[in-house]
């Protein structure tokens, strides 16, 4: 039952971004702000996907490469690469994405749960799939994605 609850994402506004060819969605209320790339200070003794920390207007926040977190191949930063600062349980954390697309208003009927991919596959961090026109957006449960990371940081 929990799976159902998790699968059914709420309708509302989502910030969409791209990692490779796939588009992902993020609840807009979780987003604090979007910034361009800036100097990242590397931190020792952390997992590879933790790129380091940045100084955002006096606040030091960790930055995570979402590609590495999702076990995707690393690529060079582009001019379009951005850092999305997320408000996670009153703490701020930055994720690096390939490109920020837009803010979409997704209605309930546009959302579907993830089809069953097998018992062994952990799909907790996906809220659902948003269908916009012919494309598909993966709606992420960012808290689940980053929960362990946050604790380690």
């Amino acid at each position: 039952m929990t799976t159902t609850q998790n699968c059914l994402a709420k309708e509302g506004k989502y910030l969409t971004f791209a990692l490779g060819k796939e588009d992902y969605g993020l609840e807009i209320l979780k987003v604090r702000e979007i910034i361009g790339l800036m100097n990242i200070t590397a931190v020792p003794q952390v997992p590879a996907y933790v790129k380091g920390v940045i100084n955002l207007r006096g606040k030091v926040i960790p930055v995570i490469a979402l590609r590495l977190k999702f076990n995707m191949p690393s690529i060079e930063m582009t001019a379009e690469s951005c850092i999305i600062v997320i408000n996670l349980n009153d703490a701020l954390i930055g994720i690096i994405v390939d490109k920020v697309n837009e803010v979409l208003n997704i209605k309930q009927e546009m959302i579907e749960s993830l089809p069953n991919c097998g018992a062994d596959v952990n799909t907790d961090y996906i809220l659902g799939i948003g269908k916009i026109k012919d494309t598909v957006k993966i709606l992420l449960n960012i808290e689940k994605v980053l929960s362990e990371d946050h604790q380690t940081v």
Partner: protein
């Protein structure tokens, strides 16, 4: 092997064999002649001189003997002198004989004989001296005897005279004393008897000397002994002292005479002995000379016989060799003659063929020279046309020269234009570069615009986030943010399009610059080319001039050619005539060849040659006798390429290496 030999080799081999035989015979003859010569030499240089010298010895010995005998008989000094001279000759020849005997080992006997003869001659000489001595003694004795005899005769005469005187006195007395007178007459008679006896003795001695009979001499001597009793008688009768003295004187004279007679006889015997000895010695010499001469003659005969036998042997060898050599020479002559005759017959056949071919060829030459004559006249007309064409060409060449001048002007103008174009091209290149630079600048500006659009997009998204957070209150703001974002995106798109356009224009500018450069280079080349064109055109102008000169020369040449062509026509007619003559000659040659064939084969009218000639007429006709020009040309070509129907190689004519050459030999 004989068949494989060449003719020269065969000839050389045949002659070589004959020469070898001749040399062999010659050398045998030379060797034999040498031996004969040797024998003859021995005969001539040893035996004949031996015989000659021995003969001389014999002759002079005989002469000496005769002279000596003469001397012995006549006691003439002249004979002795001659004998001495002859003896000197004998000695001389003996010395010669000895020298000759020493000159050769074969003449040892001669030498020995000569030495013996020399010794004997010395003996003889000694005997001659003895003889001379003896003769002189004899002469002395004879003289003495004569004197004694004369004394005797004188005393007798004196006695007779005194008796006669006394007789006359007694006769005058009267009376005549008969007794006394008778005594006196008796005495006279005795004296006369004595004188007669003395005369008889003298006659006997002379007779014996004349007769060479010592017996007569002994008889005469005996008669002297009869004188003494008479003298005793006479002295008994005589009383007168004077007469007794006379008688005594007479007796003495008779005794002396007797002694002389005895001496003479002794000497005479001595001389006889000497004569005997001398004769013996001389006979020794003579016999030696004779035997030696006989030996010499025998040797000569032997030598001559040897030479004769050697000559006979040589003659028989020569005869056998000559017969063999002649047979071999005849064999080779037959072989070679047959070979040569066969070859020559083949050659004659080939010549026959050749003359046939020559005849047909001559006919062809005749027809072709007629055609040549026609061709020459055609050529003449063509040459006239050529001449007129050349005039046209001359005018065209002048036009060409004018055109070349014009072309030169045009080329100069083109060159100037091209230079202007090159300058413009350089300017354009500079402009292009400027365009490229400004495009670079525009690209930078566009990048800036793109960045601004990106930032604006992020700002709009942030605004949307803020608006969403504001909820219902932020709805209007969200719309604005969306619009701003749209604008930002449009700006970005426009910037991207501009970027691509600018990049395109940059590429184009670069291409343009390259094209300009290429064009500039091309223009430079055009300028160079125009220069060259100007030069070439100049050359063309000059060449045209030279051409016009050349054409005038060509015109001259053509007129000469015209003449030559006419001469050609004339000479081709002559050629036609000459080829007809050639044909006649070829036929003559044919007949001569037939004659030659008859001479060689000895046959009359060779049928095979006739047949061959008939066979030859086929291809001759085939060669196009009186055919078209094309046929003739083809035939000539075929002949030149060696494909003609009758091109014979010498090996085919003369089969020196073929086996059939001497098959029936």
């Amino acid at each position: 092997m004989w068949n494989k030999m060449s003719l020269a080799m065969k000839l050389a081999f045949g002659f070589g064999v004959v020469v070898f035989i001749a040399i062999t015979l010659g050398s045998i003859a030379v060797v034999n002649m040498k031996s004969v010569q040797l024998a003859a030499n021995i005969v001539a240089k040893e035996n004949v001189p031996e015989v000659a010298v021995v003969n001389n010895v014999e002759r002079w010995s005989l002469k000496t003997m005769y002279e000596m005998r003469g001397y012995a008989y006549t006691e003439d000094e002249q004979f002795l002198n001659h004998a001495r001279e002859n003896l000197a000759q004998v000695k001389k020849y003996l010395a010669d004989a000895k020298a000759h005997g020493e000159s050769s080992p074969r003449l040892v006997k001669l030498k020995e004989s000569a030495e013996k003869a020399q010794a004997t001659t010395l003996q003889y000489e000694d005997l001659v001296i003895q003889t001379e001595g003896n003769t002189n003694e004899l002469k002395v004795i004879r003289k003495k005897a004569k004197e004694s005899w004369e004394i005797y005769i004188q005393t007798c005469k004196d006695f007779i005279a005194s008796q006669e005187r006394q007789l006359k006195g007694e006769l005058a007395e009267s009376p005549i004393n008969k007794d006394k007178v008778e005594k006196r007459i008796q005495k006279i008679n005795i004296v006369i008897e004595l004188r007669a006896m003395a005369n008889q003795v003298a006659i006997g001695t002379w007779e014996s000397q004349a007769e060479r009979d010592p017996a007569l001499f002994t008889e005469a001597e005996k008669k002297i002994n009869q004188i003494y009793p008479e003298l005793d008688n006479l002295s008994a009768l005589t009383v007168k002292q004077a007469d007794l003295d006379l008688i005594e004187k007479n007796r003495n004279a008779a005794k002396t005479y007797e002694e002389d007679m005895k001496n003479f006889l002794n000497k005479w015997f001595e001389r006889e002995e000497l004569n005997k000895k001398r004769n013996e010695v001389a006979n020794n010499v003579l016999s030696l000379a004779k035997t030696t001469a006989e030996m010499g003659i025998e040797d000569t005969a032997k030598g001559a016989e040897n030479a004769g036998s050697a000559l006979a042997g040589a003659t028989s060898i020569m005869v056998i060799g000559l017969v063999l050599g002649t047979i071999i020479a005849i064999l080779f002559a037959l072989l070679i003659t047959i070979g040569i005759t066969k070859a020559i017959i083949k050659v004659v056949k080939a010549i026959n063929d050749g003359s046939e071919q020559t005849s047909s060829a001559a006919q062809q030459v005749a027809s072709s020279s007629e055609e040549l004559s026609q061709g020459a006249s055609e050529q003449a007309s063509v040459l006239e046309e050529t001449s007129s064409a050349l005039d046209q060409i001359t005018s065209m060449i002048k036009q060409n020269a004018d055109n070349a001048l014009k072309a030169n002007q045009i080329a100069t103008e083109a060159k100037q234009h091209a230079e202007k174009g090159e300058v413009s091209m350089k300017e354009m290149h500079i402009s292009m570069q400027a365009i490229g630079e400004s495009a670079d600048k525009v690209g930078k500006i566009i990048k800036t615009i793109e960045e601004i659009a990106f930032q604006t997009n992020i700002l709009a998204l942030n605004a949307a986030v803020e608006a969403a957070r504001a909820g219902e209150h932020g709805r209007g703001f969200a719309v604005v943010a969306d619009e701003v974002r749209n604008l930002a995106q449009r700006a970005s798109l426009a910037a991207k399009d501009t970027q691509s356009l600018i990049e395109n224009s940059q590429i184009r500018t670069k291409e343009g610059a390259e094209v300009t450069k290429t064009a500039s280079d091309a223009l430079g080349q055009i300028i160079d080319a125009t220069k060259k064109v100007a030069e070439v055109v100049n050359e063309i102008a000059q060449a045209s001039k030279e051409q016009s000169e050349g054409i005038s020369q060509v015109t001259n040449a053509i007129s000469q050619m015209d003449q030559v062509t006419q001469e050609n026509a004339a000479s081709s007619e002559q050629t036609a005539a000459a080829s007809e003559q050639l044909s006649g000659h070829a036929q003559n040659l044919n007949e001569m060849v037939l004659g030659l064939q008859q001479i060689i084969t000895g046959e009359n009218g060779d049928s095979s040659a006739q047949a061959q000639r008939v066979a030859l007429k086929g291809p001759a006709k085939h060669l196009g006798l009186g055919g078209s020009k094309m046929k003739l040309v083809k035939a000539n070509k075929a002949l030149k390429e060696g494909k003609g129907p009758k091109v014979l190689r010498p090996e085919e004519i003369i089969p020196f290496d073929e086996k059939e050459g001497f098959k029936d030999f």
